[in-house]
Symmetry: C2
Subunit: 340 residues, 2 copies
Amino acid sequence: MSVVTVIGSGQMATALSFPAFENGNEVRLVGTHLDREIIDELRKSNYHLNLKRKVHEGVKFYQIEEAKEALTGADLVLCGVSSFGVEWYGKEILPILDENVPMISVTKGLMNQGDGKMICYPEYWKSQLREGSKLVLNAIGGPCEAKCLADHVPSYVAYCGPDMEILKKIKKIFSTDYYIISLTQDVVGLEVSVALKNAYALATALAVGMAEKENREGVNSWNAQSALFMQGVKEMYDLLPVFGGSQDKIMYAAGDCHVTSQGGRSRKVGVLLGKGYTIDEALEQLKGETLEAVVIAKRTGKAVCELGEMDKYPLLMHVYELLTQGITINMPWKKFETIN
Amino acid sequence: MSVVTVIGSGQMATALSFPAFENGNEVRLVGTHLDREIIDELRKSNYHLNLKRKVHEGVKFYQIEEAKEALTGADLVLCGVSSFGVEWYGKEILPILDENVPMISVTKGLMNQGDGKMICYPEYWKSQLREGSKLVLNAIGGPCEAKCLADHVPSYVAYCGPDMEILKKIKKIFSTDYYIISLTQDVVGLEVSVALKNAYALATALAVGMAEKENREGVNSWNAQSALFMQGVKEMYDLLPVFGGSQDKIMYAAGDCHVTSQGGRSRKVGVLLGKGYTIDEALEQLKGETLEAVVIAKRTGKAVCELGEMDKYPLLMHVYELLTQGITINMPWKKFETIN
């Protein structure tokens, strides 16, 4: 039995309590300052307001001011904040962690470093640690929608980190018959893949909006959707080594883009842009939604511009223009054509 | 203006008449002995019985016994037979072709050669040509559903062949604002990709059937579907070099699997197997359907067995067992887990 302390009680972090708790571990779910109501309701009824599922009886709930108590005696810390909480986590939580206790993060994203360089969150947090800190930073990536996982739908992800023995121990905590986990030491490859897929899920969804606008339904948007999905796979495959990942991680990029383009927030904004709304109009309609896809697409677009490689990524660049220049969609289909 | 003679008047071959004809080319559509009724109806009303669309007025229709007439003066021959007509095409049509006129094929598949070796159809036909024949064999691959193309939905494919100048000429015949064409000389990479995707589209659809059986709908099958899709991308990525293709062609494998797993025959048989039917029961329900996915999955499974690499392709091998051993589904999820 291990003690897992989860910082952030969003949908994905909470969904991970299901396999961990079912494996006989103690799970302590700590809400951030944004999760106060969620924790209140969990304490009352075990019902999660956003996940819309009852969490297992026995999972323990904490408000953020009780974080230190929740961290005492933990064998693993799971960071489940959204990408908008990454800096907060680095400033407020990292310093109070026991550096002998490994950490794993389910937060996905990349940060610009200038000159076209991007780093993933484990790299960012590593840079925030005190010199010589032994804290081992691991991360989770792959196509896993939170509600599906909570419902025990078979789900397949990868855990990455620098030390295979630690990864194996973490896997033991979460591995169940419905939660399939591969392990890799290619942290950058996995993290770049699952960050980029948000941008390209948005891009794939553009075709859905374009079809809706033209009153094409069902079968009649397949080719366009698959064309954008395919171009996305190509661009992610080419981007992986640019940011330091191995190209064999394309499976996670493609798989995660597959699930993300089917539903959720990345798809919603893509559909609206595809219908011909400007980004301001689209954001107006999605008020209050956390739009990680917009952030990652802007950041990656910026990096590609810094590298002067805009011609190699026409789909990303069109998304970047949609997000930053107030224009409406005009898909550069012909720019996808290559000769090799 | 070029003259394009199309042998085989199935849905995809006929859909290709749309961009070719709209570009001002003469298009001659020749039915095989299986297409007699289709050609009869096209001659009467221009309506294609399977594509369920009216073909452009001006496209010319021929029965198989008029093939020689249709081939006279052709600048390009398009082979549009199904994979079940590949040997017939090699025996009956190849010998009557003018070897100075390039040929392009939209037929997808691979053939076993023993000892784990597989060849694509252009390679097979090449082996059937008389020694010294100058006939240039090209092929089309990529995510393109026939009805979508006929309806002018943006579609993105690749044309492959040994000679880039000839590919450029062929592209000119078909290229439109809605039909996007990349060119590649990696014939094997493209052909292996778009053949394998049939097997893995069937595999991805297993999750749809499993979900239906358990009364999980919509969102509740996403993770499992994406898990199988992702494992499929991984296995296709690993199989590409085994059969002599470049791994950067994974974009076509993934893109084509994306469109194929959404609908059509490959999906149907996958859904039925996913629900727990045996292959015999599934085929009984799909009587009369052309099941290329079943053929390619069996052939690829056989090749992997010959290579003794069954452990590397657990998804393919389970599909192979489903298709050849009369068993019902028991997805080997845990075998997907890797360490690297």
